[in-house]
């Protein structure tokens, strides 16, 4: 692995083995770069196409988990510096296993695609919609004021519930989804992991409360519930202070 200066093999792109890269692109339905094969322009275009391919989910064409994690880390840094408000929504298809079990995996794939499309249609072009797991998606919304959060999340949920999926046997299938969301901590340098965890916790709540609904974390001061207060102060104290 000695660094040989001006290695002729590096200078001449025609000697690179590109077969599997080109096969991958063909499989993904992308044309071979139009520039002169082996030229720097050709190689750059090829790399760009591969980068694009490795940041997308194969089934839906949405951003994949890797791409999403990069974007999330960037956004955490940005809101720490600018104080802007950003929202993260976690979306999970309700009872997806039933779709697979009843209609087969082909139908499951159609549903996954349709939900991805519904999500993309329900947010702004600047927002990032990603498929991050089997039937789980994330939507990253930069510059989204807290007051808009409930509205945006409700629109996402409704759009999914209103879109019906045409199956190959002619049946139409309607699925619902649960949505959990949390805003990034403004100004404070936090971690993508913490943000994700908070949004996930809300998704878990939405599932536990019966699915097909939205749960958003309260912004600003965290709510201290009656149960928390009672336990903290003992029931006598909480009666006194009420």
């Amino acid at each position: 692995m000695d660094a040989a200066p001006a290695d002729p093999a590096l200078a001449d792109g025609r000697t690179l083995r590109l077969d599997s890269a080109l096969a991958l692109l063909r499989q993904a339905g992308q044309a071979e770069p139009s520039a002169e094969p082996g030229s720097p322009a050709y190689l750059q275009a090829l790399i760009d196409q591969l980068v694009d391919l490795s940041s997308r989910d194969a089934l839906t064409g949405l951003a994949n988990r890797r791409n999403f994690e990069l974007a999330l880390a960037r956004e955490v840094d940005r809101v720490a510096r600018s104080g802007e408000s950003a929202l993260l929504l976690m979306v999970d298809i309700d009872h997806f296993k039933r779709v697979n079990d009843t209609h087969g995996h082909g139908a499951g794939d159609l549903v996954i695609r349709a939900v991805g499309q519904a999500l993309t249609d329900s947010v702004r072009p600047m927002d990032l919609v990603a498929r991050i797991g089997g039937e789980e998606y994330a939507v990253l919304l930069p510059n989204c004021p807290p007051a808009f959060g409930p509205q945006v999340a409700a629109r996402v949920r409704q759009r999914v519930a209103r879109s019906s999926v045409a199956l190959q046997d002619g049946q139409r299938l309607v699925v619902t989804c649960s949505v959990g969301g949390a805003f990034a901590p403004q100004w404070v340098r936090s971690t993508p992991g913490i943000w994700l965890q908070r949004a996930d916790l809300q998704l878990y709540r939405a599932k536990a409360e019966g699915r097909d609904r939205v749960c958003l974390e309260h912004t600003a001061a965290p709510d201290v519930s009656v149960q928390e207060r009672d336990m903290l102060l003992g029931s006598h104290a909480s009666q006194d202070s009420e």
């Binding site: 510096r81 600018s82 104080g83 901590p185 403004q186 100004w187 404070v188 340098r189 936090s190 971690t191 992991g193 913490i194 965890q197 908070r198 916790l201 001061a221 965290p222 201290v224 519930s225 149960q227 928390e228 207060r229 336990m231 903290l232 102060l233 003992g234 104290a237 909480s238 006194d240 202070s241």
Partner: protein, 263 residues
């Protein structure tokens, strides 16, 4: 620079401790000043920074006049060295000055200026105490995020306890984990502080930790009794530990500090 100056970054120089409470009037500034004096006595180079941006009573407690302040540093009228002043307890203070009230809302400018001040003081001290404002405003949450450790001051009184809990909750759920200590002030009978700490820990275990990667552990730093000596020392504008070192509150504060110091 901002990486290194914030929690989680590689640390060089002072340990930065944010002293915060949720509710105001629980003795944050008293704790900050006396903690600083005790740390200084133990040979540490200590700075107390009025992170309440002009609303802290640090100057009153320490009988200092705010000649050159953080505000002058922010506006470029003075250097940091000119603004650092010696306090009676053998430590340094950086007063905010009332002009900083205009900075009490977070902006990218306030953020950058505070980061810059922290970066400058960190290599010059062993301990930096941030006397933060009351409540959990964005300024408070930001200043706390700059710290390596958090010291929460609470009293057994219900509103203080509830606000302390809300502070723990928001810090645990939105900021990276770091040591969080609890000092219970103004206790009316011995052992009350331990009871309060246990209670708080139980509610945290039940309602906060389950959603987190690792459970939150509040490290008890002890209790300080409600003591008329505190008022006397403030009226005399003297440090409690200097003015009335034998008073129950001063003895308790000294014991709390001893738990903080490296063996």
């Amino acid at each position: 620079m901002s990486q290194a100056t914030q929690a989680g970054g590689a640390r060089r120089g002072a340990v930065i401790t944010a002293i915060t409470s949720g509710k105001g009037g629980v003795g944050k500034t008293l704790v900050a000043a006396n903690l600083a004096a005790a740390l200084a006595r133990a040979g540490q180079r200590v700075l107390v920074l009025d992170a309440d941006l002009g609303l802290a009573n640090l100057d009153v407690v320490l009988n200092l006049s705010a000649r050159v302040t953080l505000h002058d540093v922010f506006t470029g009228k003075a250097t940091l060295d000119e603004a650092l002043q010696p306090a009676p307890g053998g430590f340094s203070v950086l007063l905010a000055g009332s002009g900083l009230v205009e900075y009490s809302r977070m902006t990218p400018e306030v953020r950058d200026k505070l980061l810059d001040v922290i970066a400058q003081v960190r290599p010059r001290f062993d301990q930096v105490l941030l006397d933060t404002g009351a409540g959990i405003s964005d300024v408070v949450l930001f200043t706390v995020s700059l710290a390596d450790e958090v010291l929460i001051v609470a009293t057994p009184e219900p509103t203080s306890l509830t606000d302390a809990y809300a502070t723990v909750k928001v810090l645990a759920t939105t900021q990276p984990a770091r040591p969080m200590r609890l000092l219970v002030n103004q206790v009316q009978k011995a052992g009350e502080g331990r009871a309060v700490a246990t209670q708080l820990q139980q509610v945290v275990d039940r309602f906060v930790s389950p959603g987190l990667a690792a459970p939150v552990r509040l490290l008890p730093l002890g209790e300080v009794p409600l003591d008329a000596a505190v008022r006397t020392s403030v009226q005399r504008r003297q440090l409690l530990m200097d003015a009335l070192p034998g008073s129950p509150a001063a003895v308790a504060l000294a014991a709390a500090v001893a738990r903080l110091l490296p063996p």
